[in-house]
Symmetry: C2
Subunit: 74 residues, 2 copies
């Protein structure tokens, strides 16, 4: 993965963590609701893995936010 892509994954992870914490959800709870594993949620939040559009949609659905709210990049 190149640096640019990596930078975006890190920002995406930061956005996700902020939204999750704002809703007082644990990684474990978010994992349960989305059907993803806690380990995968953790790796997403740390910008360590790529994520698919359908998983972005599923996470946004559980957080009750618009998917694009997770794609605010500087």
């Amino acid at each position: 993965m190149d640096n640019e892509a990596n930078r975006y994954l890190i920002q995406f992870g930061d956005n996700l963590r902020k939204q999750r914490i704002a809703q007082v959800l644990s990684q474990k709870q978010l994992a349960f609701e989305t059907g993803l594993t806690r380990e995968f949620i953790n790796r997403i939040e740390n910008g360590k893995v790529n994520i698919s559009l359908t998983n972005i949609m599923e996470i946004a659905r559980v957080l009750n936010i618009a998917p694009k709210d997770l794609l605010n990049f500087k």
Copy 2:
């Protein structure tokens, strides 16, 4: 893939096609610029495949739009 996920992929594909055509780019040109195959671009635009966040970012970069502009869903 469930119906809900599929619906989003179709909308994403529609958004992408509109943005690409607005910039008078062919699928072949977009493929060349992003390093993806024309077949993959075609399948994305038809909502037939899932797409990763890093590929969304790369396509948005080439189209010179914000990634979230591709995630406008009704």
